[in-house]
């Protein structure tokens, strides 16, 4: 597969690992205080685990898995809202597969489907709109989930619905923004990160400028990375070079896809359709200012929150849940009190164990290999 296979080449991985080992050794990192790089984006977490990248790195580098997983940070109350909409008569609730198993306070969307709600998995919001065209007597609600990567596709779909005059389509908007997430991490007193592996596909939309404050104000380097293993390794190499050379910059490793200015048509669609919410609730991280978007007044008729009555109740996480600490990278998944015991993929307490890119699920599925074993 073009543009994938070349970036999975093991020979080039070896070259990068050699450089990484050399640089790490030259930095004289103390044993009890390895360098900590956070990959913000859940897609990176998935890739790291899928290829066993962490086990290939020298001991002086530790990867901290960040909260860039829009499913993981979905609060239970919002899942309840989804279920409430899905259970209304005549509704077809269309969602990405990721959201199906996230536990609500009563049930997940998967359980709601088993109980008779018409919940359908779609690959694209365009397919949800197609459902609306094909079922004029039903109300189709699309669950708009994701960071800035996915905001434009939902927005463009709403604009298409507007052009076509479709009346039976709406979006339950849960799109969130990455910058407040990163800021919350940087402001967290429990963390002392040495650098960030930046979100490649969010940056594809928003460009590189929004991250300037990380280098300028918080004095941390970031390398915006692609998702293949060579991209991730090269980004780690670039971070190490910055540290070695005393630079603190926002660099772009994913230049084949990410432009500094981002994507203009995508950004235009986004600013046309959405406005920032004052506050938005994040599972494990609490309420964050200006971190979520909602549909503008002009698109009210496509806003499921205005069309349907929803409980809109803030549900606290179960007491045993340490999702917040894992999300912020304060603890690793296996350090959570309930990891692997009360909280497993079969019986998830929190979304991190459900989402395929949640740190806990990835760790459970892929990663229960100790470093020294992997090095054999």
């Amino acid at each position: 597969m073009k543009y994938l296979d070349e970036f999975r080449d093991c020979a080039k991985a070896e070259f990068l690992l050699k450089e990484i080992e050399g640089l790490t050794a030259s930095l004289s990192i103390p044993d009890d205080r390895p360098l900590q790089f956070m990959e913000v984006c859940g897609g990176h977490t998935h890739s790291i685990f899928r290829y066993g990248v962490e086990g290939m790195l020298p001991h002086g580098i530790e990867l901290v898995h960040g909260p860039g997983c829009p499913v993981c940070v979905l609060p239970m109350g919002r899942v309840d809202d989804c279920v409430a909409i899905a259970e209304q008569t005549g509704v077809i609730f269309a969602t990405f597969g990721d959201a199906m198993r996230v536990p609500g306070s009563r049930k997940s969307l998967m359980q709601a489907k088993a109980d008779g709600a018409d919940v359908r998995m779609v690959y694209s919001p365009m397919d949800a709109l197609k459902l609306a065209r094909a079922n004029p007597g039903r109300e189709v609600v699309f669950f708009g989930l994701g960071f800035e990567t996915t905001m434009p596709s939902t927005a463009l779909t709403i604009l298409d619905a507007e052009t076509e005059g479709i009346e039976n389509f709406s979006v339950f908007c849960n799109h969130i923004t990455i910058v407040p997430t990163i800021k919350a991490i940087l402001d967290s007193p429990d963390l002392r990160l040495d650098g960030f592996i930046g979100p490649g596909h969010v940056s594809m939309v928003i460009g590189t400028a929004p991250y300037a404050f990380i280098a300028r104000h918080y004095r941390k380097p970031m390398v915006i990375a692609g998702f293949e293993p060579l991209d991730i390794l090269q980004s780690i190499w670039m971070l190490l070079r910055q540290i070695k050379e005393g630079r603190i910059e926002i660099e772009n490793q994913y230049a084949r896809v990410v432009l500094n200015a981002g994507n203009a048509p995508a950004l235009n669609a986004v600013s046309k359709v959405y406005e920032l919410r004052e506050f938005f609730e994040w599972r494990g991280l609490g309420s964050i200012e200006h971190s979520g978007v909602r549909l503008r007044e002009a698109y009210a008729r496509f806003d499921a929150e205005r069309k349907f009555a929803i409980p809109n109740v803030r549900i606290a996480d179960p007491n045993a849940c340490q999702c917040g600490e894992v999300l912020k990278g304060v603890i690793k998944p296996h350090q959570c009190k309930v990891f692997g015991s009360a909280c497993t993929p079969e019986t998830p307490l929190g979304a991190l164990m459900v989402s395929s890119e949640g740190a806990c699920a990835a760790y459970y599925q892929y990663g229960r290999i100790k470093r020294h074993e992997a090095a054999e």
Binding site: Y3, E19, C41, H44, S124, H201, V257, E357
Partner: protein, 93 residues
Amino acid sequence: MCLGIPGRIIKIDDNAKKLATADVSGVRRQVNVACIVDADHPLEACVGDWVLIHVGFAMSRIDEAEAAETLRILTELGEAQQELDAMRRSAAK
């Protein structure tokens, strides 16, 4: 968050709605190309483009030159390491 896959636009399906067919190693899907079209790069010019596809939308054109450059840097890295190893081996003798 970010499952995006590189694919090639093989034909335009609908001019008004900006829809095209993309091919990923023999798997085909209709994708929305609104994000990769502009005054300098109209719809017809998209045929043959390699794009990054996310949830059925072509979100960016993949820059062939940049991709080649990234891989070239890595190849050179390997070559430099080999030279260094060779030098060390000959110095050790």
